[in-house]
Symmetry: C2
Subunit: 102 residues, 2 copies
DNA sequence: AGTTCTGTGTAGAACATACTACACAGCACT
DNA sequence: AGTGCTGTGTAGTATGTTCTACACAGAACT
C-alpha cells in the first residue's frame, strides 16, 4: 500500500510559498529562524500552535509585544514575578481575572 | 551663573560609547531604535527605566522573552487575558502570587 | 532502466539593523 | 574676534536577516 504524505518538505514549502531547501534548513535548525509572518504560515500549514513555534524561534508574538509595550512596567513586573510560579498558580490567576474578580 | 549640564548629547553619548550624532537622532526618532544593549546603557546613563525605554523602541526585554519562551502557551494566554484588565487587577494578581497563594 | 519523488548543499541577493566618521552652523563666553 | 561648546546633517560601512535559485544524490516506483 502506497502512502503519500501530505507533509513532505516540498509540499508544505510550496503551500506556504517557500523554497523547499529553506524549509528543510528551518526544520534542522541549519538557518536562523524565519520571520514571524513565515512562522505563522508554517504553523497554520502544520496545524501547530503559532505561539509555540514562535517560542522555538526565540520570538514573541507581535500582539503580545504590543500588549506589553502599552504598560511595560506593569507587565514586566508581572512576568518576572510569575517566572517561577507553577503552571496551576498562573492558570488560577488567569481564571480569576476572566471571571471578573476585578 | 553658568550651568553646564551633565546630560548634553555629547557627554551622554561619550559615556555610553556612542557617536553624538547617532544619539541625537535616537532622541528625535530620526533613526530606527538602537539595539537592546545600547538601550540598556542609555537607560542607565539617564537613570531611566530600561523596560520603558525598550517599550518605546518597540522591544521587549530579553529576560522577559526567555520567561515567555519557556512556557509560551501559558504566558501567551495569560498576557492576552490581562490585555484589558485594569492595572489594579493585574497588581492584585501579582501580589497574590508573591504572597504564596499557590 | 528510467522517471519521479525525497531531502539537502551551495551560492548569492535584497533588504534591514546598528552603527561610525566627519563636517558644519549657531550660540556663549572671553 | 576667537575659542569652545551645542546639536545635527550627510555619507558610508559592517553585519545580520530572510530569503531565492539551482543543482545533486539517493530511494521508490513502473
Amino acid at each position: 500500500m502506497q502512502i503519500k504524505s501530505e507533509y513532505t518538505v516540498r509540499k508544505v514549502a510550496c503551500r506556504i510559498g517557500l523554497e523547499p531547501s529553506y524549509l528543510s534548513k528551518i526544520e534542522r535548525d541549519a538557518t536562523p529562524p524565519p520571520s514571524e509572518a513565515t512562522i505563522r504560515r508554517l504553523a497554520e500549514a502544520l496545524q501547530e500552535d503559532h505561539d509555540i513555534l514562535l517560542a522555538m524561534a526565540g520570538k514573541v508574538s507581535s500582539d503580545l509585544r504590543q500588549i506589553i509595550m502599552k504598560r511595560p512596567r506593569l507587565f514586566a513586573d508581572m512576568i518576572r514575578e510569575l517566572k517561577d510560579a507553577p503552571d496551576h498558580a498562573v492558570l488560577r490567576v488567569v481564571r480569576e481575572v476572566r471571571d471578573g474578580h476585578w
